[in-house]
Every structure is written in structure tokens, then in C-alpha cells.
């Protein structure tokens, strides 16, 4: 195989040509089709956005572009030509020579992909040195340059740190540097910013976009976030059920999506709730100070009023104390100072001092529905337990109530005997909602309930929550970092930063300028569907010199 020189990288040459790709996955003794005949063409220097809901086959297709399939999957048809080389005809050994040198991969969770026992720089140059592309010292010098262009703080020394010593956003950028180090022809980004919060996401996105442009690298960018894809991609491909729905240049598709499915993806962002004012305060967090282990104060004098029947959104980046506030309200973390008033009465501070009725009135829904349900309990057990425990239902009455609750969350009785592992992400979250609902609570604390879901499913969940609120006059305390969600669901907004409440007020007041600095940063970091949004934002920030204060 003749080695190509870097000089031959002409922008616009056809790099990757996948035709009629078919992939099957093995589960439950049978092969099921995952990808059903997809064509994909990628030119040098081009970034393709691959979008679709979970289960659409995005990641499977992305990995197939490197000639790789996960264990339990097989490519059954089609051809993959990478720069004229037929990847399917290569032996594992030959394929390994390409992977990591001419094709690289950036995974969703950088934290899970780095080896915690080795320094960052060693891991970043490993593939480059192993493939004999550069000697160790050159590769390291080069990676330091990459660190600099990715705007990592202290680029000369940060490589000496271990993965746990840098933040999530920094790690994701280090991983981009790792992928960039051998100067590949193709990079696959598999949801690289999904796990990051908005203010960090902007920085990682701009760094990745710059570096891809700088070296004329082709990239496939897999995501379910349309606004992100709008910033990154030249062309967009929409996948559903393993088939191509639509394929077009990014600007064209963003303006005029042709297929109804694509349009429905676009429509999600337009969900909005008219705000309602209410003065009947059901829950009040009253001047709370809290800390873990009594050392570092995580919350300082936090006061939040939650009016009955409305939704209060608590926003802020990770580490701002949003979830800690929830822990104080539920009694998991007794505060050092201040208290929590429920219907005007102070609640006992610690969980174990509260009675069943006090516990019943405040329910919680978690971010990760996967871990919030016991994997060995059926849906019947999960929803049935609070009914049994708080309301003393049993036998026929219990069954009838469970099926009523399932209907409320738009599922049916066929789900009764399923285990959580047999549900999709959205269905799991619905079961969690039903479990909270079963207790007939007055307040439900929603901790980032939609952030792990893709957009169509998110919309479904948000609509469900709104409907339930109208029907049962439930109050929500909605913890999130996603402003689109806030717009969709909230009446009031509380902005938190470094353990303090920065602002609290009606949605219309908070989302109207002028903002305090931090609110400004948070709001402006939310990607918009406009493909020039990131460029404008960066230019704007350049002018005012405002960057994230957290150093992410």
C-alpha cells in the first residue's frame, strides 16, 4: 500500500464512499437488521452531520466507516471504499494499520475512554508513535501545539496530568488532540459534546471546528442535537430505523427540510409554555447553607420560592449547586443553616425524621432513568411499590391503579411485566414519572430528566409533564442546564452560580435583557439553529473578552 503524502490532500477529493451498507446485530438468538442499505459519500475537508434518534443506527454507521463493528454486529452487505482501499477486503491486521493513523475516533465519554493510570500526553501520542508516523519527541511536541490550538490552559504542561486531574471539557479536547495527532484523513466524532454543559460545549465545539478546518480533515459528526450539527456540518444526513431519511447540504436542509420526519425533528425546539403567575407558595427553601463533610460550602444562603401548580426551572452549569439544592429539599443532605418550608410548615431537616406523608408529598425524578430503577424489578413492581407503601393498595385495586398510571404516561398494559432493560430511554423515563405520580405528590423535583434523551423523545416527555401539571396541579422544580427546555416548560427561573442564587424571577423577566454577566454567558451559549451562530458568538465574545469564568 503506497503511503500518501500530505501534499496530496486536496480539498474536495472523494475520501469515503460507502455503498448500500447493511449491518445486522445479534440479539436474542437472531440477527436483526440495524442498517438497511445506506449510502454515504464524504469528501476531503468535509464535515458530515449524522443525526437521528437513538436506535437509528448512527453510531453503528459511524464505526462502519472505519471498517469496524461492535462485537455482536456484522456487516452483511455493501462496500466501503476509503481513499480507494476496500476496507471490507482488508484483514484485521491491515485494518489496524489504518485505524489510529489515517482514521481516528472521538468517543462520547472521554472520561471512560482515557486510561486513568497514564498521563494524558502519553495516551495522546501512543497511536502516532506505535504506527511509526513520528518519533516520540516530535509527536509530543506536536500534541502540545494541538493543545494550544485547542485552547487548553497551560498547554505545555497539561499533558503531564492524569485524566482525573482535568475537567470534562478539557478531557474531551485532549481526546480531540489525540485523534488529531496522527493527522488522520478522517475523524469520527461520536456525540463528543453530549455529556458537557452548554458553556463548555461552545468552547469544545469551536476548538474542534477550527482544528478540522485547519488540517483539512474530513469528519463525520454524530449527534442528536440539531443546533450543534448546524454549527459543525457542511452536509447533513438524517437517519431513521437504519435508513436514510434525507441527505442535503447543511444550510439547505436547515432552511427547507423536505421530509416530514426531518421537519418534526426541527419542530421540537419550538415548544413553548405561556407563563403563569402564582402567589400560593408551596415550597420554600429558606436561606440554606449546605456542605459535604462540613468543609467546602456548596450552597450559600440559597432562597427559592416555589409557587403551587407552576414550574420553577433551576439553571446553571455543572457544579453550581443545583442538584445539591434538590438533596437539601429531599432531606438527603441536612443543611447547616436555614430550613425548608412546605405549605408554610418547616420540614424536619433529615430524611429519617420525616414521616411517610411528608415523604409522599415530595417526589423526585432522576436524570438517568437507567440507574433510577432496579433492573430486577418489573414495571409492575416499580410503579406498584409507592401505591402499596403510601396508599396501602393491594390486589385488584393495585392492578387497576397501575394500569391507570400507565395510561396516563401514554403506555399500555403490555408494559406491566417488562424489566427496565427491555424499555427504551424515553419509556424508562416515563415509568419513573409514573412512579413519582403514583405517590400523588404535590411537588416533583425533576433533576435533568430530559438531558439524556434525544430531542423527539425529550419533546414527548416535556409535553407529558405539562399535561400532567394541568390535570393534577402538580408543582415542578425543574433542574436543568438546557435553556430550550427551560423555555418549553417553566413559569419561573432561578439562575445559580457557584452555590448562590444569581437571579430569580418570571421567565419573561429573566429571558429579557439586560442580564447579569453570568446569565448572559449561559443564555448566549445555547446553540441556535442558525449555522452562523457559533461564528457570530465567538466574534462577539472576542470583542467583549467574556469567556467562561470556570476555565472549562
Amino acid at each position: 500500500m503506497a503511503k500518501k503524502q500530505h501534499g496530496e490532500r486536496n480539498k474536495g477529493d472523494l475520501l469515503l464512499d460507502m455503498r448500500d451498507i447493511r449491518i445486522e446485530g445479534f440479539s436474542d438468538e437472531k440477527w436483526h437488521p440495524i442498517i438497511k442499505g445506506v449510502d454515504l459519500k464524504l469528501h476531503r475537508g468535509e464535515v458530515m452531520g449524522l443525526i437521528g434518534e437513538s436506535g437509528a443506527g448512527k453510531s453503528t454507521l459511524g464505526k462502519a466507516a472505519m471498517g469496524y463493528t461492535q462485537p455482536g454486529c456484522r456487516i452483511t452487505g455493501g462496500s466501503i471504499l476509503f481513499d480507494g482501499i476496500d476496507l471490507r477486503a482488508l484483514s484485521d491486521r491491515e485494518l489496524r494499520r489504518l485505524n489510529g493513523s489515517r482514521m481516528t475516533y472521538v468517543a462520547q465519554s472521554a472520561a471512560a475512554s482515557f486510561n486513568p493510570a497514564h498521563r494524558l500526553i502519553e495516551q495522546c501520542v501512543e497511536a502516532t508513535v506505535d504506527h511509526g508516523l513520528k518519533p516520540d519527541s516530535d509527536a509530543k511536541a506536536d500534541v502540545r501545539k494541538l493543545f494550544r490550538s485547542l485552547q487548553l490552559p497551560d498547554p505545555d504542561n497539561i499533558g503531564q496530568r492524569y485524566p482525573h486531574q482535568v475537567s470534562g471539557g478539557q478531557l474531551q479536547r485532549a481526546m480531540t488532540a489525540m485523534a488529531m495527532s496522527p493527522r488522520p484523513d478522517l475523524i469520527i466524532f461520536d456525540e463528543p459534546t453530549t455529556a458537557l454543559d452548554v458553556t463548555t460545549q461552545v468552547e469544545v465545539l469551536s476548538a474542534m471546528r477550527d482544528i478540522v478546518q485547519q488540517f483539512n480533515t474530513a469528519a463525520i459528526y454524530i449527534t442528536h442535537d440539531l443546533a450543534v450539527v448546524a454549527q459543525m456540518a457542511d452536509v447533513i444526513k438524517v437517519l431513521r430505523y437504519g435508513e436514510t431519511v434525507e441527505d442535503a447540504p447543511a444550510r439547505e436542509m436547515l432552511k427547507h427540510p423536505k421530509m416530514p420526519y426531518t421537519r418534526s425533528l426541527w419542530a421540537v425546539r419550538s415548544l413553548e409554555k405561556p407563563e403563569e403567575r402564582s402567589d400560593d407558595i408551596v415550597l420554600r427553601v429558606n436561606g440554606v447553607d449546605a456542605s459535604y463533610g462540613g468543609v467546602v460550602k456548596v450552597l450559600q444562603d440559597v432562597t427559592i420560592d416555589v409557587p403551587r401548580g407552576s414550574t420553577v426551572a433551576v439553571v446553571g452549569e455543572s457544579g453550581s449547586g443545583k442538584s445539591t439544592t434538590a438533596r437539601v429539599i429531599t432531606g438527603l443532605l441536612p443543611p447547616m443553616k436555614g430550613n425548608v418550608l412546605f405549605n408554610g410548615e418547616p420540614l424536619p431537616l433529615a430524611l429519617k425524621d420525616r414521616n411517610k406523608d411528608q415523604l409522599r408529598r415530595i417526589q423526585m425524578i432522576y436524570q438517568m432513568a437507567d440507574t433510577a430503577m432496579n433492573p430486577r424489578h418489573t414495571v409492575r413492581d416499580i410503579i406498584g411499590r409507592p401505591l402499596e407503601f403510601y396508599l396501602g393498595l393491594s390486589g385488584k385495586a393495585l392492578d387497576a391503579r397501575i394500569s391507570e398510571l400507565l395510561k396516563m404516561i401514554e403506555l399500555d398494559d403490555s408494559f406491566m411485566e417488562r424489566l427496565p432493560g427491555e424499555l427504551s430511554g424515553g419509556q424508562k423515563q416515563r415509568i419513573c414519572i409514573a412512579r413519582a405520580l403514583a405517590a400523588e405528590p404535590e411537588v416533583i423535583i425533576c433533576d435533568e430528566v430530559t438531558s439524556a434523551l434525544d430531542q423527539i423523545v425529550q419533546e414527548g416527555i416535556l409535553k407529558l409533564l405539562l399535561r400532567l401539571q394541568n390535570e393534577f396541579n402538580i408543582t415542578y422544580l425543574f433542574i436543568t442546564h438546557d435553556i430550550a427546555t427551560v423555555k418549553a416548560i417553566s413559569d419561573q427561573i432561578v439562575v445559580m452560580f457557584q452555590g448562590k442564587v444569581v437571579e430569580q424571577g418570571m421567565k419573561s423577566e429573566i429571558l429579557e435583557p439586560p442580564y447579569p454577566d453570568y446569565t448572559q454567558l449561559l443564555l448566549s451559549s445555547v446553540p441556535e439553529m442558525d449555522p452562523d451562530w457559533l461564528t457570530h458568538l465567538l466574534a462577539e465574545r472576542e470583542k467583549t473578552g467574556a469567556m467562561s469564568s470556570s476555565g472549562n
Binding site: 456484522r74 420526519y261 418534526s264 438517568m368 433510577a372 430486577r376 419509556q427 416515563r430 423527539i456
Partner: protein
């Protein structure tokens, strides 16, 4: 499965499709895929169980029946000859299976009951109870267990109940450590927090949230610990403080007939006699380990099927 509807519905989301099967169907499916070693192990264990349960019907004589000729050679009357007192070796092997396996199972169960429940409790509590129990277990584990049990047996007297209690307590230290370690991973899950927020009691959380989720490693460990208990009992019997005569037991059978080995150059068969109970121990240990290995491999989540 061409799903062309353009509207979203919660029930129609793509989830893992799993066919529902009864417990028996699932077990049979797994067994069909089991490697040959696991099959071998299962068959050997089943045979041992059969012999142990139906000992009075399988054995030709009674456990402590003494015949006239000690050290009788192998013959049609005494398949494996007789021992130093003139008891039929085959009969005692059969009864030995019953005694040794029965005591080993009881001991292992007891040690899992003690170690498992304390381990889970320590993992949930994570404060003074955890500290106290863990340090106490460290102390127990620091003393060589065979010597410790020898000592305790000579203090309390060696009868079957003392034997079971002492070995169970000493062995539960290892179960405690395992149960605590695997429970720690489960205790931090959101569903345990959700149960606590609901106001569930400690017992409910242990039984419903933690136990089902730590069962696979514990079951695997059960198999291994069973082997060790079994060997411990055999060694104690060999040393003379285990199961007391006239109850038949493989460990003491090895000891009682050990000198026959030196007759190997004159009578090969006679020399084999002490090796028979030793072989019975070895075969069962190997069989149990095969099954445990298979089970561990299945539950550890390693899937290398292509």
C-alpha cells in the same frame, strides 16, 4: 419492520426486543450453550447428589457394620475391600458422600447467611457499624484459619454442630468482604436512593434492591466456598478433630487407611484404597469449579461471541 409513521408515540419507541420465556425454557437454552466442562461438572455433581441422598439403597451394607476380616482385598463381596476394622470401604464411601457433602452445604449456607447479611448491612450503613465489622473481620482473617479452627474445636469439643458453627463463622469473613464490596456498587445507585427517599426500611432495601443485584457474584462465590469448606472438613477429619467415628467421612478414611499406600509394590489394588476417598474429594472439587467457572463467565458480562 418498515415503520413509516411520521408521528411520535411513546409505546412505539425502539427498545430491546426480548422474547419472554419461562424459567425452565431459559435454563434449557443456557444449558444447550454450556461448554462440555460445565456439562461434565453438572453430571458429576448430580451423581454425587444421587449417591448422597439414596445412600442406604446404594450401599450394600450399613455404615458401621464390622466384618471379620480387616484389610480384606478387593473382591465381589467387598468391592473395594474392607478397612482396618473390617468395614466395607464402598459402603463407607457412599455414606461419606452423604455426611461430608451434607455438612459442607450446611456450613456454606450458614456462612453466607452470616457474612452476606452483615456485608450488605455494612455497605448500607458505611459508618461505625461498617468500621467495627470490617476491622473485626480483618482480625479474624489475620489468623490462619486451619490453626484457628483446630484451636476452637479443641476448646469447644469436636462434634458436628461445633464443626459447622466454627467453620461457618471463620468462612463468613470472606463472604462478608465480597458481599460488602459488591453491595457498595449497588448502594450508590439512584434506585436505592429513591427507595430511601420513599422511606423504605433497611430490611426492604436489603431484600429488594440490593440482594437481587448482587446475587450472581455471590452464587459463584458459593460454589467456590463450598469447595474450600469441603476441603477444610476433610483436612480436619484427617487431623482427627473433624467428623468423629463411627460416622463415615472421606477425610478420616484417607487417614485411617493411609499406611496401605506403602503396600503398593505387593498389591496395587490395596494401595489404591486410601486414594479412593481422596479421589472422590478431588473429583467433586473439580466438578464444582467447572460449573462455577461457567456461571461466572456467563454473569460477568464478558461477551465475545461473534
Amino acid at each position: 419492520m418498515s415503520n413509516d409513521d411520521q408521528t411520535y408515540s411513546a409505546a412505539g419507541e425502539v427498545a430491546m426486543v426480548v422474547t419472554r420465556r419461562t424459567w425452565a425454557q431459559r435454563a434449557w437454552r443456557e444449558l444447550k450453550k454450556a461448554p462440555i466442562t460445565a456439562w461434565f461438572g453438572l453430571i458429576v455433581i448430580a451423581a454425587y447428589m444421587f449417591v448422597a441422598i439414596f445412600a442406604p439403597w446404594v450401599a450394600p451394607y450399613s455404615e458401621s457394620q464390622v466384618f471379620d476380616t480387616p484389610y480384606a482385598p478387593w473382591s465381589s463381596e467387598f468391592i473395594f475391600g474392607t478397612d482396618q476394622l473390617g468395614r466395607d470401604v464402598w459402603t463407607r464411601l457412599v455414606y461419606g458422600a452423604r455426611n461430608t457433602i451434607g455438612i459442607a452445604v450446611a456450613t456454606t449456607l450458614l456462612s453466607f447467611l452470616i457474612g452476606g447479611s452483615l456485608g450488605v448491612m455494612a455497605a448500607i450503613n458505611r459508618s461505625w457499624l461498617d468500621q467495627g465489622l470490617s476491622r473485626f473481620v480483618d482480625v479474624l482473617m489475620a489468623i490462619p484459619s486451619l490453626i484457628f479452627s483446630l484451636m476452637l474445636l479443641s476448646i469447644f469439643g469436636s462434634n458436628v454442630w461445633n464443626l459447622i458453627m466454627i467453620i461457618a463463622v471463620l468462612d463468613s469473613t470472606r463472604v462478608f468482604r465480597l458481599a460488602r464490596a459488591v453491595s457498595l456498587n449497588v448502594v450508590v445507585m439512584d434506585y436505592v436512593e429513591a427507595s430511601r427517599l420513599r422511606g423504605e426500611s433497611l430490611g426492604w432495601v436489603m431484600r429488594n434492591d440490593i440482594l437481587p443485584n448482587i446475587l450472581p457474584p455471590l452464587v459463584a462465590e458459593f460454589g467456590l466456598r463450598f469447595c474450600f469448606v469441603f476441603l477444610t472438613i476433610a483436612s480436619l477429619s484427617f487431623l482427627g478433630v473433624g467428623i468423629q467415628p463411627p460416622t463415615a467421612d472421606w477425610g478420616s478414611m484417607v487417614r485411617e487407611n493411609a499406611q496401605l499406600i506403602s503396600f503398593a509394590e505387593y498389591d496395587m489394588k490395596a494401595a489404591m484404597t486410601p486414594l479412593l476417598p481422596a479421589g472422590a474429594i478431588a473429583l467433586l472439587t473439580v466438578a464444582v469449579n467447572f460449573v462455577v467457572d461457567w456461571f461466572l463467565h456467563k454473569t460477568s458480562g464478558i461477551r465475545d461471541e461473534k
